[in-house]
């Protein structure tokens, strides 16, 4: 089975769990579940009220027992959130995780705090090094302070209050040769828990050569005018498609959802609450990895996404300066993007048109004059690359747009609050310096008789452990996936770190590297991890 096929099936499976769009045959026993009910309610009903065990549920759904547990935990969290948002009571039948989960999470959390303190203590014990080898020791100190500051500031992050606002939202979804998945994606958006007269969908066919247009039209025909289809006879690129979609609607809020992402039913309603503050220009939703169980590459990314959103974006959000509203799921105030729309659509970098990195670029347009927030409760589930090659290409692309947009951010972020400004500059500098330090620690020092780079490796390990433990502590149900956070950091050290200079050197390149098969690859960058 090709990986595209695996992904397609994963999307269908996920969609079929969430929404009534599954034509796939389901086991007979499942028919007693209300077919249009969302998976959360279904699981709760099955496991709590009907006394169905996790093992039985696993048989019914085809998930692993672990996954059932996780989803059940997730369902409870969702139910609680919904209750908080709508004011309706939720029966607290049981905690999200069991008692052992609570204990394990507590241990992980305490362990994380202890580790962070230990690393800070270690750094302070070697503080005098700065006078001896200023470059190296400053780097280490800055990395530690930067990472700790992310954790520190994210602790002050609060989700926005429920103001009960339901502004007019238009979801713009461009599609290029996505015949197989586009209809499901569009239908899932129609199913969102949001007033029908306030939610419209603009589907833009960017000159597809397959049946994407007809699929779009098919959905539009059954949507009582809520889906508008714009057609480009020729492929003009994602940005042009998005811009056309934006121009075609009068909605106050423009939302973007990746064709590879699936939203929780309440995600949109939660996301727009932040726009109650008139100064907020854009809000980024939270992205979870949908194909997390697929293989080790997706598992690594699951931890990475979680940390990138829950720590890094949350920390940025405290100062209303989120630097990248991920293309997976985010929303913009129309008034914030319209003045810059033409510029953005035709953005040039060093004389060449910028194609990829549309999300980061658009965020930058808004960030200059508006607040940009992150909303942790508005959750999308996105498909991430599952092969080494795809993953590497995606990362290279992100790095290229990161290079370009970092230059732009640097030009104005200093006018904002000094704390996020300093953090932003440090965040830009670190990935540039990191490869030099790594070469110095791993190659030069041992060559000069400085011994094995044990302390450097341990530094990476401690950092990765922090990320992993954070994942373990925050997820409602404890699971072993956090270990992949450690794996990711070493993967980063082994492969991704070295892309930086290549990406900088080739920033101008317009190639997506992956088009036209964008499946599983246009999920946008959550945020760069410092290393």
């Amino acid at each position: 089975m090709s990986s595209a096929e695996i992904i397609r099936r994963a999307v269908r499976k996920q969609l079929s769990k969430h929404y009534a769009v599954a034509p796939a045959p389901s086991p007979p026993r499942r028919s007693r579940v209300e077919p249009s009910a969302d998976v959360d309610a279904t699981l709760l009903a099955l496991s709590e009220q009907n006394g169905v065990s996790d093992e039985q549920l696993a048989k019914l759904t085809g998930w692993s027992v672990d996954e059932v547990g996780e989803r059940r935990a997730h369902a409870w969290a969702k139910a609680a959130e919904r209750a908080a948002l709508t004011g309706s009571p939720v029966a607290p039948v049981s905690e999200a995780g069991g008692r052992t989960d609570g204990a394990a999470r507590l241990v992980a959390g305490a362990y994380l705090l202890a580790l962070l303190s230990a690393v800070l203590y270690y750094k302070s014990a070697f503080l005098q090094m700065i006078t001896v080898s200023p470059f190296l020791s400053m780097y280490g100190l800055v990395v530690v302070l930067y990472i700790s500051s992310r954790f520190f500031f994210s602790a002050f992050y609060r989700t926005s209050k429920n103001h009960g606002i339901e502004p007019h939202v238009a979801i713009v979804m461009p599609g290029f040769n996505e015949e197989a998945a586009i209809a499901d994606s569009l239908r899932s958006l129609l199913e969102l828990n949001y007033p029908a007269n306030s939610l419209e969908i603009v589907a833009v066919n960017d000159g597809s050569t397959d049946g994407t247009l007809s699929e779009m039209k098919k959905v539009a025909a059954g949507a009582k005018g809520r889906v508008h289809v714009i057609n480009f006879p020729q492929n003009r690129g994602k940005r042009a498609a998005m811009a056309a979609g934006i121009r075609a609607t009068e909605a106050d809020i423009i939302a973007f959802v990746d064709s590879d992402s699936v939203l929780d039913r309440d995600a949109m309603r939660i996301l727009v609450q932040g726009f109650h503050d008139p100064k907020v220009g854009a809000i980024c939703g939270h992205a979870e990895v949908l194909n997390v169980r697929q293989n080790w590459i997706t598992k690594m990314q699951a931890v990475r996404y979680f940390v990138a959103f829950s720590v890094n974006k949350a920390a940025e959000s405290v100062f209303s300066t989120v630097t990248c509203c991920s293309g997976c799921f985010s929303a913009y105030r129309r008034a914030a993007i319209m003045p810059k729309l033409d510029w953005w659509e035709n953005q040039k970098f060093l004389g060449r048109e910028s194609t990829f990195g549309d999300d980061r670029s658009l965020t930058n347009c808004v960030l200059r004059n508006w607040k940009v927030k992150y909303e942790a409760r508005a959750i999308s589930h996105t498909i991430v690359p599952s092969t080494f090659k795809q993953f590497m290409r995606q990362q290279l692309r992100w790095k290229r747009s990161w290079t370009r947009e970092s230059l732009i951010v640097s030009s104005f972020i200093w006018r904002k609050n000094p704390i996020p400004a300093v953090c932003a500059y440090v965040g830009i500098l670190l990935p540039i310096v990191a490869p030099v330090i790594a070469v110095h620690a791993i190659v030069m020092m041992p060559a000069q008789g400085g011994g094995a780079p044990i302390l450097y490796i341990m530094g990476v390990y401690a950092m990765s452990l922090c990320y992993g433990l954070y994942y373990a502590a925050r997820k409602p149900r404890y699971n072993h996936l956090w270990v992949y956070g450690i794996l990711f950091c070493f993967f980063y050290l082994a492969f991704l770190l070295w892309q930086t200079y290549w990406a900088i050197a080739t920033t101008r390149t317009p190639s997506w590297g992956t088009r036209p098969s964008t499946v599983g690859l246009n999920s946008a960058e959550p945020v760069q991890l410092a290393s």
Binding site: T100, A104, Y111, F126, M129, G468, V483
Partner: protein, 354 residues
């Protein structure tokens, strides 16, 4: 079979996932000792330059008190310090107290002599001796001694002799000065480097009760082999001392003296064998020259030429003040008319130390 393993794995999966938390500590625990030693070396390496000499503010009455002593000939007082820090461990003194004592020596008119000159003095050659000579020594070759003393000695125009434990240098123990530093000290002209011990600066068990005595001072006892024979004792001590002498030859440092660890070469309670003292003392004198020890009551007279000692040194303790040192120097000054034996011990009595 396959299904059995699957069943077992299904049962173990979750406990195993919890075990990942403690397991993740293993690499940290493995590296912790490395981090600690790296840190010790780091502190050692970057905290090795001498400390600035602290300001010494002697009161007017002290200035009046520390008058220049009468000049004397034919005798040299010898001082011994162990470490300069704020530990108050009995033997280390603070840098401030050390500086006050050195300032007092300057006011009292003393001039510090080198170990080479002292060696000539020991063999009866008094030529070139200043009018009030003194020998300042440090035992153990500790880094903190050098750091605390160097700038103070420089300020008061004094010099000192450092007795080093070469076994600790070989172990790269960061608490002690290494050869590079010792050579640098010697080149500065402010320091002489002399031997203290190789591996012999330890206490060993000497009987079945577990009583301890210095390495050079008694026949060793071990549970498996019992009391070592005198021949074995001779071999052990001679090997250590010959190695020590050889290391100084390798370092091309002239040897004139040996400070005996714990001041005990078997004379105290006759070790545990009457043959020890004559053997060991003879060996030490033949190999190194003058042998230095401490005094039981810490009130030794000034040393006189005896051709190799053992010579007793006045020992500084944590609580020693400049006034006490002055009192001893004055009381023992052979040229002072009022010199009375024991006058300096009124304020303090200390046993001979390490």
């Amino acid at each position: 079979m396959k299904s059995f393993t699957r069943v077992v794995w299904a049962k173990l999966r979750r406990p195993a996932s919890f075990m990942l938390l403690p397991l993740s500590l293993v690499p940290l625990a493995v590296v912790l000792p490395i981090v600690i030693s790296v840190h010790a070396n780091y502190v050692r390496y970057y905290d090795s330059p001498p400390l600035p000499a602290p300001a010494v503010a002697l009161t007017a009455s002290q200035h009046r008190e520390f008058t220049t002593l009468p000049a004397f000939t034919g005798a040299i007082p010898v001082l011994v310090y162990h470490g300069i820090n704020n530990d108050r461990d009995g033997y280390s003194i603070s840098q401030r107290a050390f500086a006050a004592q050195m300032e007092m020596l300057r006011l009292a008119g003393f001039t510090a002599v080198s170990i080479a000159q002292y060696d000539r003095f020991q063999h009866g050659d008094l030529s070139g001796l200043p009018s009030r000579p003194i020998l300042i020594t440090f035992d153990d070759g500790r880094l903190d001694s050098f750091r605390g003393a160097d700038e103070v000695l420089a300020r008061d125009g004094l010099r000192a002799t450092m007795f080093v434990i070469t076994g600790q240098i070989a172990k790269k123990n960061p608490f002690y000065l290494d050869w590079t530093e010792l050579h640098r000290m010697q080149r500065s002209g402010r320091w002489d480097i002399q031997p203290h011990a190789y591996r012999g600066h330890v206490q060993i068990a000497v009987d079945a009760r577990g009583d301890l005595k210095p390495f050079y001072a008694a026949r060793r006892y071990s549970r498996t082999t019992g009391q070592e024979t005198f021949a074995d004792y001779q071999r052990r001590v001679a090997l250590d001392l010959f190695t020590l002498a050889d290391q100084f030859r390798q370092q091309a440092i002239d040897v004139h003296a040996l400070a005996v660890p714990y001041g005990d070469y078997g004379q105290q309670d006759a070790g545990n064998d009457p043959r020890i003292m004559p053997f060991t003392l003879g060996l030490m004198r033949s190999q190194f020259g003058t042998v230095f020890v401490q005094d039981d009551h810490n009130d030794p007279p000034y040393t006189t030429p005896t051709g190799g000692g053992p010579e007793k040194r006045w020992e500084a303790h944590t609580s020693t003040t400049a006034a006490q040192l002055y009192a001893w120097l004055r009381a023992r000054d052979p040229a002072a008319p009022s010199a009375k034996s024991g006058a300096g011990t009124a304020a303090f009595t200390g046993g001979s130390g390490e």
